[in-house]
Amino acid sequence: MPDRRAVGEQWLALFDWPLLFTTLTLALLGVVVIYSATFANEGDTMRGLYFKQLEWNFYGLVVLSIMSFVDYRVVERPAYVIYVVTIILLIAVLVAGKVISGSKRWLLVGGINFQPSEMMKLVLIITLTKHFGSVRDSAGEVGFQRLVIPGLLTLVPAVLIAKQPDLGTAVVLVAIFFAMAFVNGIKTKTLLAIMVGALVLVPVMWTHMKEYQKNRVLALVNPSVDPLGTGYHTIQSKIAIGSGGLMGKGLFEGTQSKLNFLPEKHTDFIFAVFAEEVGFVGVFLLLLLYLGLVLRMMDLVLKAKDRTGALMAAGVSAMFGFHFLYNISMTIGLTPIVGIPLPLLSYGGSSLLTNYAAIGLLISIRMRRFRHD
């Protein structure tokens, strides 16, 4: 097996060090910001979170290593089995999940709470890759009828997750689907037709949305309507970010987070904590890091050895890109608030492991781009 030897000998040279370096920088930054967001809190549970995140980072690195040394085509093979198992887990969440602040998102396994919905994102990427790969249409000729099965593959977990309710993650799945379908070669006409259809669907969805979800959309239009209610998060987040100014209030000096004016400060709104303390300069650098991360991932779409690698890279790029753009835009009041964390920075083990696994997958793809088989 010449390719294996090649990888074995050249792996140091072929390993995606820039991606790993960016990932680790962001992840460690996350630990620091989580510390800053929580150290002033009463009680050890919150205060200890940064250390837990550090632990998760360690496990994440292990996952990343394993994923990068396994051939991504091997990962693709059991895709449908993994998909079915994850769907079962999602159903289990709805039946026997743990409720935390109004949502059933967690499953207690072996003493650890984990979120199958986070795992679902990566599973969907692999599953769609396998499906798109198995139906060999000519590139750029994929019509509507070819999207029915991948559409259903996406919708089933999306609906299950939306029921938890976790609208954010459901939307991420849809975003992944569109990005991968687009890269796979969907006809532009079909894509436009789906978009028009979605627009028509919006009013229908509106009537099925829960009250708090509707309120969040309304609050986006005018957050000051009810400053202590729905608009509160948006207002407080904007205050935190804006009051940071050019240079920030200084690390660990943010008042909005210390005094608990910021909601979800160590998870979905961690960007606001960061922005308050390091200001525009720090924010600018952070955005550059994310941009570098995502562009590096997208670069792989064209550089992958094969269609499988390209589709996987496209899916992972979409996941990270959507997460970081949406999360920041919601903290600055441009989009409605849904539970979409900032990848690598926000606190959360399931999300972190998923991200590390996804990045490991991309490293694997990049390492194997020159193989001969």
Binding site: A139, G185, I239, I241, G242, L246, L291, L325, L334
Partner: protein
């Protein structure tokens, strides 16, 4: 691994290349959009959002701030602030407010439902006042039971205290809670909801001086509203004190003399215009508003048909009646239509065309010169003067004396009164001036109306050698008081000899047996003045003979008396108006006498013999040969 058909991937990559570029461009654009938005928030809008973050973080806990004290000219405390206890509750500190309120109800009485409702409307951790100004006894009981009353505490709050209740109430005024539309606007830009402000009188006019600087503890709070630490203390600054020009004794005497009557007294220092007394009856008790709570007392005041909240001294407008003859005399002398020797015969009436205008003395005064016409208030003499002058010359002189204009004393809602002129009549009544109206004007009736304060200034100008003083509310220091022009006094431009001729007449009004104000005499003090009667309705011929008591009160005339004393060196000038009092000489002059005697008490001759009764209507024999030798031009 033959299932992967790598050969066909070449076309695949060719197709997706532009698509990946498109997505890359989209990501770049969106990142740029985020950066622009972040630039806006963190660099452009930073001040605004920083301020919001601070206001989130900081809460100002107000510290009591004491309002300045209002004194009379000699340092008697008229309005002061005292500490009081309010019982306050903080909702978040009460585990079970129902039980706490029940327990509290055993100590103080309050409307529980209403208190709960108001408390719930309060922002988090803001104290809500259950009871204002509780007694020491209640405060002690609250303190004793503090373990059964979690969330209940005592807060020290300043309360306005008017030591003499209704004393000078119209001048001092009262306080009240700031209204919703005032908060934060214009003058009230740094005021807040619930602040107490001056609503009337000096309290209102001198708000800026009296209010002081609000103090506060600036506390850091968390999102739940808990106070974490004190960031800064802004010490409260007490308001500055105000020394009124008011003389306690004069004011007290005036109020006592006016008790049970309706009307006004205004006394000035003729040289400086400082208000020595300002009485309006009926009055009110500002202590009733001290807590800013609208009470039953308020509705009583508002519904009282005699309008106790009106300051008649500056808001009451009345026909000046015969007091206006001072202005007629001044105009006549200045315009040269009369001199001291001019005489007119008074047969008791004056005919103009087919109409007959009566003198108040039916039998007539006979041959009258200016001196005696003033002394005896002969209407016919002044009808002649008025006809020679014409209405516009009368108007000019009245305006020179400050009538037809606000005095600008600095109290709210002062009235300007009215002095008619031919131009005025044409403009507002669309008719030319009639000669008969000049006759009414000449004796201060008809369209003429003035406030007591305006008349007090008129008589001050006579007393003060022709300098019309600016009326003022606060005490002057001696240096300022010595400079009439610096005080804003205005000379009415009347030669001294004319002033002396008028003053001689006014002296006789009080001191001659034929004078109309013999009731104003004070042993040891020479008083000069002029009576007046302001017609409320024109009574029928027969009614004039009727006794005052037989006329229904609301149809009785208003009684005027303007005076100054001592004649040689006037120290006080005043105007008295008694609504429906009848004749000035009998109803108003005695009040002026009391005020002058109180203010100049050192000069009043202590009688060795039995106290001299106020001069009776029938002149005393010993006082018959009265003249005024010290006034050279008097006859």
């Amino acid at each position: 691994m033959t299932e992967f058909a790598y050969g066909s991937d070449e076309k695949f990559f060719k197709v997706i290349r532009p698509r990946v570029f498109f997505l890359t461009a989209a990501v770049l654009l969106m990142t740029l959009a985020l950066l622009i938005r972040l630039w806006y928030l963190e660099v452009i809008d930073v001040q605004n959002l920083k301020a919001l973050a601070e206001s989130n973080r900081l809460r100002q806990v107000q510290l009591p701030n004491y309002r300045g004290t209002v004194y009379d000219r000699n340092g008697a405390e008229l309005a002061s602030s005292r500490g009081s206890f309010n019982v306050v509750v903080i909702r978040e500190d009460m585990p079970d407010y129902d039980a706490v309120f029940d327990k509290l109800g055993e100590i103080i009485s309050f409307n529980k439902e209403e208190a709960v409702r108001s408390m719930m409307a309060q922002p988090e951790f803001q104290p809500f006042v259950v009871a204002h100004d509780v007694s020491r006894d209640v405060a002690a009981r609250v303190e004793e039971n503090r373990y059964d009353l979690p969330g209940v505490s005592l807060a020290i709050a300043p309360v306005r205290y008017y030591k003499y209740d209704s004393f000078a109430s119209h001048m001092i005024g009262y306080l009240g809670e700031i209204s919703k539309d005032q908060v934060g606007k214009g003058f009230f830009s740094d005021y807040r909801k619930g602040d107490v402000i001056g609503k009337y009188g000096i309290e209102k006019s001198f708000e800026q001086i009296l209010k002081g600087v609000r103090g506060a503890n600036v506390m850091e709070v968390d999102a739940a509203g808990r106070e974490l630490q004190m960031i800064q203390q802004i010490p409260p600054g007490a308001g500055r004190d105000v020394y009124l020009s008011l003389d306690f004794k004069a004011q007290q005497a005036a109020e006592k003399a006016m008790e049970g009557k309706k009307g006004a007294v205004v006394a000035l220092k003729p040289t400086t215009g400082e208000i020595l007394a300002m009485v309006s009856q009926p009055a009110f008790n500002p202590n009733e508003f001290a807590n800013g709570v609208e009470s039953q007392y308020w509705s009583q005041l508002v519904s009282n048909p005699y309008f106790p909240l009106n300051n008649r001294a500056i808001q009451g407008v009345y026909a000046p009646g015969s007091t206006f003859k001072i202005i007629m005399a001044a105009a006549g002398l200045k315009e040269g239509v009369i001199d001291e020797n001019t005489t007119f015969t008074c047969p008791g009436f004056y005919t103009l065309g087919r109409k007959v205008y009566h003198c108040w003395k039916e039998k007539g005064h006979g041959k009258m010169n200016l001196l005696h016409a003033l002394e005896q208030s002969c209407d016919v003499f002044f009808y002649h003067v008025g006809m020679k002058l014409g209405v516009d010359k009368i108007y000019d002189m009245a305006v020179t004396f400050g009538l037809n204009n606000k005095t600008g004393i600095g109290l709210e809602d002062e009235k300007r009164g009215l002095i008619p002129s031919s131009a005025w009549k044409l403009k507002y009544r669309h008719k030319p001036w009639g000669a008969g109206e000049t006759l009414s004007s000449a004796i201060g009736q008809g369209f003429n109306s003035v406030t007591p304060l305006q008349m007090a200034r008129v008589i001050s100008a006579i007393a003060n050698d022709g300098w019309l003083p600016t009326a003022r509310l606060t005490r002057l220091n001696e240096k300022d008081a010595a400079d009439p022009e610096g005080l804003g006094s205005r000379n009415i431009g009347l030669q001294k000899k004319y002033l002396d001729q008028i003053r001689a007449g006014l002296y006789l009004v009080v001191n001659s047996p034929q004078g109309t104000a013999t009731h104003a005499r004070i042993p040891g003090i020479d008083v000069a003045g002029k009576t007046g009667t302001s017609q409320v309705v024109v009574l029928k011929e027969g009614d004039k003979k009727r006794k005052l008591e037989s006329i229904e009160e609301k149809y009785r005339d208003h009684a005027w008396f303007v005076a100054y004393a001592p004649v040689e060196n006037p120290k006080i000038a005043l105007a008295v108006l008694v609504e429906h009092g009848g004749h000035g000489g009998s109803a108003a002059a005695p009040i002026a006498r009391e005020v002058i005697a109180a203010y100049l008490s050192d000069m009043v001759k202590k009688p060795s013999a039995p106290a001299p009764k106020p001069p009776a209507a029938v002149p005393v024999v010993g006082e018959q040969k009265i003249n005024a030798p010290e006034i050279p031009n008097a006859r």
